[in-house]
Symmetry: C2
Subunit: 347 residues, 2 copies
C-alpha cells in the first residue's frame, strides 16, 4: 500500500512566492490527509499533482495564522466542488480549541437560513441529534489524544512547547500479520489449502490426526507498520510522552525556523533550529528527519539569488548532530515516499 | 497627482494560479487603498510592483470568502512588518457587519493578555476611551454611506443586489480651484504678486483704488476631480442612488462573472454578465468600463490553453452595448492609469 508525503508549504510566518505557508499532505490509498492549511493552500493544491477533492481529514497543529488561514477558503472550494454530490463524506477537521470559531460563520456573517448552532460545543456537551463535533480530552496515562483509529492505523496527538498550545501528530499503521512459515506447515503435515487462510487470519485449526495448530506456531513475527511524526511549531516537547510516541519513526517532520546561530531568538519565539530538531530525532532514533517551516529568508537552494542566505547550511547543522545521517530540507511540492517495512523492529 | 489601479485578483469563487481571488489597489500619492482581499492577496502583493506596507485603508465589498479570506493573513503580515515601528498609522478597515467577527480573535483563540474586547460594537455603542471602530449608518437622503472625507476626496458606499449585502464604492476627488485668468487680472490692474495667491486661495482682495475683486471674478471654472467606481458582486444596484453616484465616472470597475449566454444563471447567483455591466455603464455615462471577477473558466487571453473558453468574447459582448466604446478585461497585475482632468464636465 503506497504512502507518501507532499509538502505544499514550507515557509514560516507568511506565504511567499517561493515558500507557501505551512501545509503538507499524507496520501494513503488515494485519500489525502492534510496537516496544517496556511493561506494559499488551495492554490498550492492546484499547482501540485494532488487533488484537494481527495481530502478526507484535516489536522491543524496550532492557531497561528500561517498554519490555518487557508482553511476557510479551502472548505468553501471543497463545498463548491462537491455540491452536485450530497453523498460525499464530510471532511473531519481536528484542531485546537478556538479553531471552530474561525471556520463557522456567526449569525451576522450569513443569512439566517444558513446559520448553524454549535454552541453546545462551547459547553463541552454531547452533540444534539444529527449535530457533529466534539471536544477530545488528553489521555491522562499516555499523555496523548486519540484522534483516529481504524483497522489499519492509529493517529494520536501530543503536546509541544510553543507560545500557544501546539501539537504534534503521530500516524502509526498497525502491524500486519507475519508470513506463514510454509516449511513448518509442511513438516506438520498441513497441505496448502483453506487451512492456510484460517491460520493467516488468526484462527487455530485441528488436523485430522487431532493435533491443534495455533497461528503463532506457524506465523512469522508480525510486520510493523509505518510510523510518521508531524510536529507543529515548537521549541521542544512537553513531557516524555512524545519521545515514546515518536520512537523509531520512519519519518519525522520537524520545524527548523532559524539556523543554529540564532538558537536564542528561535527559543524566544517558541521555535527550533536544525540542532534542536536533530537532538529530538536522535533521542527518538528516527530513520529520516525532514526539516521544514523555514524563515522566508531561506529560499530553496535552486531559487537562491544573490544575497540570499544559503539554506544548505541548515542541513549541515542538522546532519552534524546525527553523525552524518542524511537530513532532508523540505521544499514546496517535494514528495517523499514511505515504503512498507519487511521485518520486525523494536523500540 | 498620479493615481492608478492595479488588479491583484480577477477571478471569482476561489483563487487559482491564473486568477487570484478578488483584490485591487487604488494608489494615490504612494498610499494604497485595497478593495477586497481574497485569499492569497498578500502573495499577489509580493509578486506585483506594489508594497503591502503602503496600505492605509481596506474596503471589503461583501462577506463572500473570495473577497475577504486573505484579510487575516495580510493583517498579521503587516503587523509583523511594522512591529519595529509602533508609530505606524493603523490601517482603517471598512466592511459589512460580520467582518469584525472574522478578523478579531475570540477569547479561546489567543492568550488572555492579547485578547481585546470589542463587544461594545455589537451593541452599536460609542467606543470606550481609546477603543476604535464604529458602525456607519445609511444616509437616508442620499442612500449612501459616507466612509472617508478629507480635503481632497470623498469616498461613499452604496448598496447592490446580491445574495447577501454587497456594496459599491465611489471615490471622488473634490474639484480643484480653476486657473487664474491672468489677462483679466492685468486688465483690472492687478500686478503679479501676493494678491494672486490670495485670490487663488479664495480670498477677496481690495486694490489701492478701492475696487474689490472677488476670486470668482478672476478664476476660471473649477477643475473636477477624478471619479472611480468599484462595485462588489451584484446583479444590479439598489435604487437610483448608485446611478447618480457613479455618473460620468472616469473608471467603472464592474463584475462580469459569466458571459451573456448565461445571464439567467448569473442572475440566479446574484452576478452580472458583460451586457448587464455595460447597461449600467451606459446609464451612468462612464468613460471607461473595466470588467473583472471572471469565472475561473475564463483564463487570461495569453494563458488560454486548448479547450479553454475564449474570454475576448466577453469584451465583444460588453462593447456591443456601448456602441463600440472600448472595454477592458482585467487581468492579475494589470495597472490602469487615471490621468487628472483638465476642464469642467457636467453630469
Amino acid at each position: 500500500m503506497s504512502m507518501d508525503i507532499t509538502f505544499l508549504g514550507t515557509g514560516s510566518a507568511y506565504p511567499s512566492p517561493t515558500r507557501g505557508a505551512s501545509a503538507l499532505v499524507l496520501r494513503r490509498e488515494g485519500e489525502c490527509w492534510l496537516f496544517d492549511c496556511g493561506e494559499g493552500t488551495q492554490t498550492q493544491f492546484m499547482k501540485s499533482h494532488l487533488k484537494a477533492g481527495r481530502i478526507t481529514k484535516i489536522f491543524i497543529t496550532h492557531l497561528h495564522g500561517d498554519h490555518f488561514f487557508g482553511l476557510p477558503g479551502l472548505l468553501c472550494t471543497l463545498s463548491l466542488q462537491s455540491s452536485p454530490d450530497p453523498n460525499r463524506r464530510p471532511v473531519d477537521i481536528y484542531g485546537p480549541l478556538g479553531l471552530r470559531h474561525f471556520i463557522l460563520p456567526t449569525q451576522d456573517q450569513c443569512p439566517a437560513e444558513e446559520f448553524k448552532e454549535f454552541s453546545y460545543l462551547d459547553r463541552d456537551e454531547v452533540s444534539p441529534q444529527g449535530a457533529q463535533g466534539r471536544i477530545l480530552h488528553l489521555d491522562p496515562v499516555e499523555h496523548s489524544y486519540l484522534l483516529v483509529e481504524d483497522e489499519q492505523l492509529v493517529l494520536k496527538a501530543f503536546r509541544l512547547f510553543h507560545r500557544i498550545p501546539s501539537f504534534g501528530f503521530v500516524v502509526e499503521e498497525k502491524p500486519r500479520t507475519g508470513k506463514l512459515d510454509v516449511q513448518k506447515l509442511k513438516d506438520l503435515g498441513v497441505q496448502p489449502g483453506p487451512l492456510y487462510g484460517k491460520l493467516k487470519n488468526g484462527t487455530a485449526v485441528v488436523l485430522e490426526n487431532g493435533v491443534t495448530i495455533s497461528p503463532s506456531d506457524v506465523l512469522e513475527d508480525p510486520i510493523p507498520g509505518r510510523k510518521i511524526c508531524i510536529l507543529g511549531d515548537c521549541s521542544g516537547v512537553v513531557g516524555d510522552a512524545a519521545v515514546k510516541l515518536c520512537c523509531e519513526a520512519d519519518v519525522l517532520i520537524h520545524e527548523a525556523t532559524l539556523d543554529d546561530t540564532q538558537e536564542e531568538k528561535a527559543r524566544e519565539h517558541g521555535h527550533s533550529t536544525p540542532k534542536m530538531a536533530s537532538d529530538f530525532a536522535k533521542l527518538c532514533k528516527v530513520k529520516k528527519l525532514v526539516l521544514t517551516h523555514f524563515s522566508q529568508r531561506y529560499k530553496p537552494a535552486a531559487q537562491r539569488g544573490e544575497g540570499d542566505t544559503d539554506i544548505t547550511e541548515l542541513r549541515r547543522q542538522a546532519e552534524s548532530v546525527l553523525d552524518g545521517q542524511e537530513v532532508t530540507l523540505a521544499e514546496d511540492f517535494m514528495t517523499i515516499d514511505i515504503p512498507m517495512k519487511k521485518k520486525k523492529q523494536r523500540c
